[in-house]
Each structure stands twice: as structure tokens, then as C-alpha cells.
Symmetry: C2
Subunit: 732 residues, 2 copies
């Protein structure tokens, strides 16, 4: 059998080398029992990774080098060949360290020498980007990446080189390139931005490799060594104190690599700096928060995220391996097992060994508030998990700041996950990464026009207009104001408000996971509010994943026609499928996904419509995924409150042919106010009552009272769960 | 934590007991090393199954029996309680055999006695079905199922009973019920139909259990023991000589259970009958063909299939275990591993033990023609697999007969699978099994109106009318005529024709998998033809699974409106999304699914349109899945030929961020005729030429010549693959 992929020329080489930094381990049949001695060296998935890398490198050893004169921009031929060569050099260096086989050192040295021959003569790249041009590549970001890999290899193999060769490589390649990236590109090197981190990390690693302390100091403290710029400053600024990266996990992953790779070198060479303890261990936090921001192995797809991206990415393979080296946290081994992919480093090998030795323990997934912004005071990403089960119910409340140019306009949006799936979806980016036929693989026009707009998210839209009127600048200046974040066994809850998303409307949302025996399992309570004077239209979309099976009201999809729901701000991309009227102020919509049912039961104002939608209008190029949704739509003069219970339930088993619990348990939802205090009461069909008190003032000392159907309900503190009698008798 | 499912009263009990016959084994952490002695008793997944069953039974031992007077029809309370009791009795008997614990025998005996008390007094069921009424259940099919399970348990535990109790149970329950099912229900018992198999198996098993040879003889040879009816006759008639079941794999699975369970008992009690050797080993064949008719663990979803149904179903858990007992074929252990689910039998335990002992070998998936019909001459299900890899490229050509009332009108339809997914889909049944909100869980009205219609399949539609004008009776009388089925390393091919699907149009289709180095991997060649005089419209739909990424012609989805494509025969359920004109007679459509691209490149007649569709028009109740498709549409006066290459290609990797081979390799497709002989020539963008000769006369001795662009191409035999130069140099 031939491989399914034909390897064609050097582009394929680049691919094979990219892949070499993250090869999927092959799940094999159980291996025959080995002798005790062999068992010690059994390295499971890692061993396969190294074996494949050796094979791949061995096939290159006798080939002529291909070092084309720089010509093409990103993705072009010369771009890919130079990337591939860096990967070859890096792998050869790593393999020399790991195996001691001199042929790898020879190869890496010779390829570096070949680059040293030509690099000094390369002026700025002919296709250079205006802002930060490179010489080997169109932008110096790629040049930094190249050097980050090559300098590590040089450090590994330099002892095998003659003095003459060392001098040649150091002078004509490593120093030449480093100085171009530092003194020659101050606007990047001194910038507090992830491109700056790549540059400082590359130059700093070069400093360690060639033994030039000046380079290291510039890398750490900026060109003038003052500490106003450089790696340490970037560590201070680019992550929030909780280790959250402003643009979200999709970009956090990318930013992570130069931080952890260089920091590891600093730790080895300058242990006195205690780099991993700096800023209360910010780099470890950043690795952990990246992990915490995944569900089912994929990153929470907020902002311009490619939804397929997750914990198997190369950056996080290094991150997890280095974090394990630092912490010995055996929970990380569970993550490494899920990654099931290893990189060519001793730390990655150690992961594999310890997994094989049965040391893995469950990763400690938990609810957490990740403060956003340099000071941690620009909103937060609030993660609520019903349990430590990575496939359990989880909610992400996007109470973050805008997240710069890749940010979406979805303040206080929800993402819901359960049973390994997205349940209420974020569309993510409208982009087919590297698929030439889809707009060259770039962000599609529909990314700005639909995916970034508020209506593409599970977030409240006022007057068919996106938050901040889709102005990134305004968005960047205005973060939500956070309320209390509380986590107990039976109640996890967060609140946030924002009064700048719209000029004259203040938005608020409280999201809770409650656990009560009145339900099959944990359920979500979502109170979405708008405070306003004057008439507005409020749309609260729920982008559900699955097949609609039941509603508590009559609804008929239009059998014969479809038309766009609106004309602007993303509405033009939604087909209007149906419109319906909830009965007695309760809207219930149930869908089926895989083996479970999901219901959203909502208490809604009188006159509310439920509008069913499908993505795909105004999409002549078939660029959008045709996903279903529904929205609660109310027009009022005095703001709005939608109180929803989002309820996973039942069991659909077509294999054994039974279906249980296909109907929502919710019979009624009451919403009561007493001044600034609120009380939500949920009645189930079996007659159980569950309540949730929400205080206007979060002071834990204060007592609150709300009249509920003639009865006074009193509690102390910001939030209070009133459990059902069933829960009490169940002894929880 | 509470369980996600609340167990409520006896309906849940029934469920838990259904589940007990097929419990998912829990994938655990690697177990600590055991001593050699312990290792011997390690039964992996099976041990968990038995443990769970013991726990479940133990919880029932002290409870009062619940034997309600029969009242409800299928799915109702009394129905489910009696089903649950049968499962309890069965499990108790199995556990007694497996553990020797008398408490299980006691329990089973007492519950049988309790039934013996009341059963004789039960007349026909109040909700009885007209055709085949039961007494405990509304139809005697369920009564047969009940007895099939209970009689096995009686056989297992009868030695623990007093003479008096034995007499009571035998007389008032087992004989009373058996005689009702045999002499009392001759119209079912003597019928050659799967309901008859359940009845004969139940009565025959009772005969063995109580030692009544008369029962066994009646079961085997019919009420009058003549052999004109009974189990042996059913074995002769209900499967084709290749072991194919007329209604397709979804129903084959259901029919299988009484055959294999009773045959196993016959083998034990009357080995001289060599029941498993009868009719050239038909029962083993039936088990194997059921397995062969799966992809990715799910049955090929032809006809009224629930698409989630697959090899984990209870029937096939028994089937695989019994087949392994009979054959020792270690390939079956791979299937059992994939099932990852065990039943309470010694045979299932053996599977688990042998898997744990590392005996599993790959199952021998291969291309095969499964003749349909009692004599094997009513068409065939043709399965082409590119390799033994269960996740490799596979094509099913539905050249079968109609398949009775659950059959769909899709003669010569294609289903294509690759990389673990459906690529070109069959819609399967329009039904949400047991989901009350969806039409009570029954087949939806859209099942007849859409899912059964030809246009819902990858099959040629003439004049917007379904095959046989949607008349099942006509369909049942007319099967396709098969051409040659040939399997070689590089060429797998099948042909079929039918001239009865339409009055005046003869349909033909040749489908091949070819393997040539000019392509990334194996590709499919599909020649769909219609022979007719007079003007007809021909629609060839491709129900693709994935996201459209590229076409070789301009196409614009209507941005502002949708309307149904037609008015009848399923067309009313398709939105017309776009219509386009292929350029120079070549239509190319490429989509992305998961990590791969798929292209359909088609040589089409002049004037052909490509119509893009989405399922979901005229669907007010949101019953249909909104799946995309496109169809080649031509209007001609003299029949039509569509020659398509269906090509998996490339690699989309968003984790490592590369995309390779996103474009089809096909540059041109030529179709040449020389009398009744045909030649298809595929030219790739790299300039390779691959040819396929198709003879009008399949005689292997005959030589054929077709003029191709002025050159004479000659071959001998029914089919001939002309490989590219690249293939030849690649040394394949």
C-alpha cells in the first residue's frame, strides 16, 4: 500500500518536518511481553516519535541541501523550504542529544554552514512586509522562529564542530541574524507583543548557544538592557495575573511557545533568576490556563478561533512537557495521554515514560475565573464546570475584554459543552485554514460580516446592532464589570455587567450551574437582562447543536420559502425558518445530540416571539456552515429579563432501542424582584421547587428578602441556592 | 455524584435489563500487573459485564414480583414489565450457570412459578393485533421472544427445582405457552418469515429444556413435521445462499438472533444434524455477512435503517460469540474488540478471555458480492473495499432486490465510505426511534415521502419519478440483472442493469475502485447510464457529507431566497440552492470532511446543469436533517451517460497548520464506445493517463477494441484497467 499522501518535493518535506514536531502516536496492538530490561527503556508513544524522526532524518543525510534565494511570501516555495530546513536542523540537534549519534550533529553543522555561506549576502526580502520585514522570510517573525529552532540545535552540537566551523556559523549566521533581529529590528524586538517574544526568545537562545551574555541580557531586558522592554517585560504585560491571554486560547497557544522554550533555557543557564517563579509563576499559570481552556481536547472557540485547534498543537506539547518537568503534577500526564503526541525533547520522553509507568492521575479540571488584562481588571473568562469530569457539563461565560483585532463582539456570551460536545455553539472564525480554494485560506469576508457579529453568538443583541457598534477600538477600551464568582459543590455562579456595549442599554448576565436531585444531573440557570428606558428590540440567540425534537408551543417551519432575517450586522446571513409564540410566558425548545437531549426553558416577557434560524443566507460562495439556532425576541419599553434553564437530560440509545427522559423536567420558571435583589424559582413537572437568590449587593454579610408568591424568601450573601425537598431527602 | 439517568419504576427496570444484555465495557486505566494465577481469570470487559449483572440481580432478589394482567400494547406499561421480567429470568439462569450461585436459580424458579400461576388464565391480549395476537403481549412475536429467553433459563435451573415445581412450570407456563405459539398460532409458526423463526426457536428451545422431542421436531420441521415449514425451511428460505437477508443489514441483525440461539441448542442436543453445516454453512455465513455489512461499526444504512445501529447490537454480540465458538476465527476477536460489549454467555466470556490473551487478528474485510433472493438470483449487494482496512475506501452498490415494505426505491444506488466516515450518504430512515415527540417514535411521514424516494439516494432519477413509480409490489417483482463482479489488487468492479425501474428507460451502472499511482490513493470510477428513446430528464444526485470548498465552474448560491426543487416524489423536500453550468463537459465538485478532501469529477452531456440542494423544504415539523447535495441534471433524447471519478485526496491538518492536495487530480474524463464495448479514460493534471475497458459481452475469452482518439485500445475479458506510466514505474 502506498501512503495516502504523496510526498512531493520540498513543500511536502516542510510538512513532514512540521509533523515531526508532533507525530500522532500509533495505537497499536498490545505489545508482546518484554523482558524486564527492555521494559525499562519502553517509551511508548515517544519511542515511536523518535524512531520516525530518525528514519526521516536518515533519509535526508545524503541529499544535497536546498537553500534557495529568498523570493516567496508566506506559504510560497522558498518560505516553506527555509521553514523545512530549520525543522531539519532542529530535529538533527535534538536527535544528537537524545541518541549521541554523530551523523545527526554532522548533518546539522553542515546545513548551518551552508546557510552561513549565503545569509550575510541576503538583503531585505523581496516580498517584504512593510512593518517588520525579514531577510530569509517576508516578515521577521518567521526569521525569529527560524533562529529559535536553529540556535537550540547549535547549542546541542557545537562541541562536535571545528573551531573554524564554529566561528563561521556564529559570525555569519547566528550573530548576523541575531543582530538583524535585535538592533536591526528594534520596532519588533522592543515591542511588548508576541512577535517581540519570538524575537527576544530567539536572540536569547542564541546568546546561550554561543555564550554571549550581552545577547541574553538584551533579550531579557530590552535593547538598552533597562528592563523597559524585553522578555521579562513581556512576561509582565502579555498575560493577565491569572495567566489569561487577551486574545483568547486560540492565540494564547501560539504565544506560549517562545515563552516556555526560552524560559526553560533561562532556568538552566541562569537558575538564580527563578524565571518560572517570576510574577507569581506566571508562565506555569499560562500553560495551565491554556489547558483549562479546552473541552474535548479543543480550545474554547471564542474570537477568531479555528475550531479544530486544541491541545495537540505543537506549542502545548512543549508546554505540557515543560510544565511536568517543573511541577511533577501527574495530572498533566492525563493531558499528555489525551494529546497522544510527543515532541523530540527529553521532557516529552519523560511524559511518555511516566504514562507507561502508570503514574497518570486525572487532571484537575475545575471552575475558575481567569481575570483579563495586564492588571487582571478588564473582565474575565469565567469557566464553570459541573465536575472535574472533562466530558461533564461546562459553561464558558465570555466576560472578557474585546481581545484586539481578532476579538468578536459578544460581551457576556455563553458557550455550553456537555458529553464531549458543544451544546450551545460559538461559530468561531469563518475561515478554512490554508485551503486555497477558500479565499486563499485567509479569513473569509464572512468572518467580519457574520462570525464577529453579536448575533453569531449566544449573546444579547439590542436593536439588531452588534456590541460597540462593531467598533474594535471602542471595544478595546471597555470591559465588562464583574460581579461575584462563587464555586460550591452544588452551585457555581458568575455575574457580569456592561453599560458600554450600547449607548443607552446596560446588559447583565448571571450564569449558574446548579446541582439538585430534582433534575437528571446538573443544569444551567441563565439570567440575561437589559436595563433601558425607551423602546428597544432584544434578541437572545441560542445556537444549538443537534436536531430539534420538541417545543412547548406550536411552530411550523416555512415549507415553501426562506428569506434573510435582517439586512445588517450579521442578520443578513441568517435564514428565517419559523416564528412562534410561547404560551403563558414559557418557551421550551428541546433538541437531540448524539445520545442526549437538551432543553432551553425560558421565562420570557409577554409578546416574545421565538424565531428559528439557519446560517447560510447571503452566502453565494458556500462559505458558512448551515447551523441551526433560535432566538428569543422581545420588544419592550423598559429593558428585558430572559430567565432560562439549560438542561441536559435523558438517554437516547438506538443500539439497545430505548429512550428515556426525552422531555424537559421544567414546568415553570418564576422571576421575582425585591429592589435590587432577585429570586429565580424553578418548578419541575414532578412538583419539586428549586430556587436561586441573587443579591443586588454582593456583600457577604448582607441579608436579602424577596417576596415570592406571597412568601418571603430570605438569604445572606451574594447568591443562594434553595434546593428541592428531593435533593434534601437524597441526602446530598 | 448521582447517575445521569434516574431509574424510575419498572420501565427503567426494563431498560436496565435490556442494557444488561449489552453493557459497554468501561475503558479503564492500565491495570496493575497481576500474578500469573490472577491473569488466567482476567476476563476484561466480560468480567465487568457479569459483575454488573450480579449487582443488578442481587438488588432484585428480595423484591416482590410484579406480574401485571396484560393490558398495554407495545411500549406500554404491562408490555415493558413482562419484557423486563423475561430479562430477569434469563439473566438469573445465565448467572446460575456461570457462577453456580443458587440464589439466582431460586429467583428464576420462583418468578417462573409466579407466571405459571396466572398464565393459563390469560386469554387473548385485550390490545391484540389482528394478524398474530398474543396473550401476555399484544402480538405473539413478543410472546415468542419471552419464551425464547425464559425457556433457556428453565433449562439452566430446572435441576434445582422440586418435581412439583417442575411439573407446575412445565405444564402451566412452558407447555401452555408453547402450544399457544405452535398449534395455537399456526399462521405464524408455519410461516417462512422471521416472526416464524422466533416462534419455532422459542418452542424448540422449550422442547430441549423440558425434554419433549415432539416440540423440537415441530420446531425443526413444522407443525406436521413434514419439513414443509419450520426452522430448517426458514434456514433455506430467509437468507440468500450467500447469507444476505432480503431487507438489508438493519433487519438482518434482528432476524439473526433466533437463528443462532436455537441453532446453538440444536448443535448441543442433536449434533448429528450438523445444523451449522446445513445449506453450506448458511448460519455462519449470515453472521459473517452481517459483520461485513458494516463500516465504522455501523451497518450500511440502506432501506429503512436507523443509522446509529451497528455491530454493538445484542443480536450481533451473540452472533459473534457463537461464530467464534464455531470457527475459532481470531479475526472475530477484532470485531468483539470493536463491539467492546459482552453478553452473559460462556461464549462471550471466551471472546473476552481470548482478546485479553492477545489472540485477536485483523478481521478479513474484503470486497464481496452478496447475492440476494432465496436462490441468490435476485440482484446482489455488491461491496467493494479498496483494502482490508476497515476505515479505508469502500463502496456499496445497491444492486439488490426491493427488500419488501422497508425497501427504498434506489436501484443501483451508491454509498461511499472513507476514513471512517460516510462520504456519499444514504439518508436511511426518517425516524427518531422511540422519541415520543417525533411522531411517537414511529417512522415519520417523511420516511415514505422523502427517505424512500429515489432522489434521496445516490441513484439516477428519470423524469422526477421514483423507481417502480414508488410501487413496492412492482419493486418486489423486479430485481436488477447483474454483470460481472471482479476483484483484483488494483481493480474491483461491478456492473448491474435494470429495465423495469422505468417503463421505457433501461438503467445501468458500473462502479469500480481503481488503484493507480497517478492518484493519492484508490479512487472510484462510476459509469451511470440510461438507455432510452425519446426525451427524458435525468438527475443523478450526490448526497455529499462535508463542506463544499471548490467547483471548476462558477456557482452562486441564491443569496436571498430558497424554493423547493420540485413538487413530488421527494423533490418537494429539497431546497434548490444553486444551479450552474459545467464548462467543457466536465463538472468538478470538491468538499472537505474532517481531514480529507473529496472530489466528484464527472464527464457530462452538453447542456447538463449542476443543481445544488439542501434537504429541508416542506418540513414544517423540523423532521429532516438539513443535508447538502448536488445533482447532475441532463435532458436528452437518447439516454445518458455520466462518468464520474470519486476521489478522496489531500490532507487538511489544522493542528499542525498545513493543507496538501486540496485540488482534484482529474483534468479530463473521456468516454468512448465501440459497439457494446466502452472505454473510460482519465487524464490527471500531472499528465498521467488511466484507462478502464468495459466489455459489452463478459465472456472472458473475447477480445474488445475501442477507438480512443484515433488509437485502438484492445483488451480481453469483461474489464481491463490500463494503468498509468507512473504506476508502472512505481513498481506496483
Amino acid at each position: 500500500m502506498r501512503s495516502a499522501i504523496k510526498i512531493v518535493s520540498s513543500v511536502a518535506l516542510a510538512v513532514s518536518l512540521m509533523a515531526c514536531q508532533g507525530i500522532d502516536a500509533v495505537e497499536g496492538e498490545p505489545q508482546p511481553q518484554k523482558s524486564a530490561q527492555e521494559a525499562v527503556v519502553d517509551q511508548g508513544g515517544y519511542a515511536l516519535t523518535q524512531e520516525a524522526a530518525e528514519k526521516r532524518l536518515d533519509a535526508q543525510l545524503d541529499k544535497d541541501f536546498n537553500i534557495p534565494f529568498p523570493k516567496d511570501p508566506g506559504g510560497g516555495y522558498t518560505h516553506e523550504v527555509h521553514k523545512a530546513n530549520a525543522a531539519l536542523i532542529y530535529d538533527a540537534g535534538q536527535l544528537y542529544t537524545l541518541t549521541g549519534e554523530e551523523r545527526y550533529a554532522d548533518f546539522a553543522g553542515k546545513l548551518m554552514l551552508a546557510y552561513a555561506e549565503v545569509y550575510p549576502s541576503w538583503e531585505l526580502h523581496p516580498a517584504k512586509k512593510e512593518q517588520s520585514p525579514g531577510r530569509m522570510f517576508w516578515q521577521n517573525l518567521n526569521e525569529s522562529m527560524w533562529l529559535l529552532h536553529v540556535s537550540q540545535s547549535y547549542g546541542a552540537i557545537k562541541d562536535t564542530l571545528s573551531d573554524e566551523h564554529r566561528a563561521k556559523i556564529e559570525t555569519d549566521l547566528l550573530r548576523n541574524m541575531s543582530e538583524f533581529l535585535s538592533d536591526g529590528s528594534p520596532e519588533t524586538f522592543n515591542k511588548v507583543h508576541n512577535h517581540g517574544t519570538w524575537a527576544t526568545a530567539a536572540v536569547g537562545l542564541t546568546g546561550y548557544a554561543i555564550g554571549d551574555e550581552d545577547y541574553v541580557e538584551q533579550a531579557l531586558n530590552g535593547l538598552d538592557k533597562s528592563g523597559e522592554a524585553g522578555f521579562l517585560k513581556q512576561m509582565d504585560k502579555l498575560f493577565s495575573p491569572d495567566g489569561y491571554y487577551n486574545e483568547g486560547p486560540y492565540y494564547q497557544r501560539f504565544a506560549l511557545k517562545p515563552f516556555v522554550i526560552f524560559a526553560q533555557a533561562v532556568q538552566k543557564n541562569n537558575p538564580e533568576l527563578k524565571i518560572f517563579e517570576q510574577r507569581d509563576g506566571i508562565l506555569k499559570k499560562a500553560i495551565y490556563t491554556t489547558i483549562h481552556q479546552n473541552y474535548g481536547g479543543l480550545f474554547f472557540p471564542i474570537n477568531d478561533a479555528i475550531k479544530e485547534k486544541g491541545i495537540k498543537t505543537n506549542e502545548l506539547l512543549h508546554g505540557v512537557a515543560i510544565a511536568y518537568e517543573l511541577t511533577g503534577d501527574t495530572g498533566l500526564l492525563s493531558i499528555a495521554k489525551e494529546q497522544d503526541t510527543f515532541v523530540l525533547t527529553p521532557e516529552s520522553r519523560k511524559l511518555s515514560q511516566d504514562i507507561a509507568a502508570g503514574k497518570a492521575t486525572p487532571f484537575d479540571y475545575k471552575s475558575m475565573r481567569l481575570g483579563d488584562g495586564e492588571e487582571g481588571n478588564e473582565g474575565a473568562l469565567d469557566i464553570l464546570r459541573a465536575s472535574a469530569d472533562p466530558n461533564g457539563l461546562a459553561v464558558v461565560a465570555k466576560n472578557t475584554s474585546q481581545g484586539l483585532g481578532h476579538g468578536h463582539f459578544d460581551k457576556l456570551a455563553l458557550l455550553v459543552f456537555d458529553a464531549g460536545h458543544e451544546i450551545l455553539r460559538d461559530y468561531g472564525a469563518a475561515r478554512f485554514l490554508n485551503v486555497e480554494a477558500k479565499y486563499g485560506g485567509h479569513y473569509l469576508p464572512e468572518n467580519n460580516a457574520y462570525a464577529k457579529q453579536t448575533v453569531a453568538h449566544n449573546a444579547l443583541v439590542v436593536d439588531e446592532t452588534s456590541h460597540f457598534d462593531s467598533d474594535v477600538e471602542v471595544g478595546n477600551k471597555n470591559a465588562p464589570v464583574l460581579g461575584e464568582f462563587v464555586v460550591t459543590d452544588n452551585l457555581k455562579v458568575t455575574t457580569a455587567e456592561i453599560d458600554t456595549a450600547y449607548d443607552d442599554v446596560k446588559l447583565g448576565r448571571t450564569v449558574a450551574i446548579i446541582d439538585d436531585a430534582a433534575f437528571d444531573g446538573p443544569v444551567i440557570v441563565d439570567l440575561t437582562e437589559a436595563h433601558a428606558d425607551g423602546s428597544h428590540r432584544y434578541d437572545l440567540p441560542f445556537h444549538y447543536n443537534g436536531h430539534l425534537v420538541e417545543t412547548n408551543f406550536d411552530v411550523q417551519a416555512d415549507p415553501l420559502a426562506r428569506a434573510p432575517l435582517g439586512a445588517k450586522n450579521g442578520y443578513q446571513y441568517l435564514w428565517k425558518v419559523a416564528e412562534a409564540n410561547p404560551v403563558d410566558g414559557l418557551s421550551q425548545v428541546t433538541w437531540l445530540l448524539d445520545k442526549k437531549f437538551y432543553s432551553v426553558s425560558s421565562s420570557v416577557p409577554k409578546g416574545t416571539k421565538v424565531v428559528f434560524t439557519q446560517v447560510g443566507a447571503n452566502d453565494p460562495n458556500f462559505n458558512l456552515r448551515n447551523e441551526p439556532g433560535f432566538m428569543l425576541r422581545a420588544i419592550t419599553n423598559d429593558g428585558v429579563s430572559f430567565v432560562s434553564v439549560i438542561e441536559p437530560h435523558g438517554d437516547y440509545n438506538p443500539t439497545v432501542e430505548y429512550t428515556l427522559g426525552s422531555h424537559s423536567q421544567v414546568k415553570a420558571i418564576g422571576h421575582f424582584e425585591g429592589g435590587a435583589d432577585e429570586f429565580i424559582q424553578i418548578e419541575t413537572k414532578q412538583g419539586d421547587i428549586v430556587g436561586l437568590g441573587l443579591a443586588g449587593d454582593p456583600n457577604p454579610e448582607l441579608t436579602h428578602t424577596v417576596e415570592v408568591n406571597g412568601e418571603s424568601i430570605t438569604w445572606t450573601g451574594a447568591y443562594k441556592l434553595f434546593q428541592s425537598n428531593k435533593h434534601k431527602t437524597a441526602g446530598n
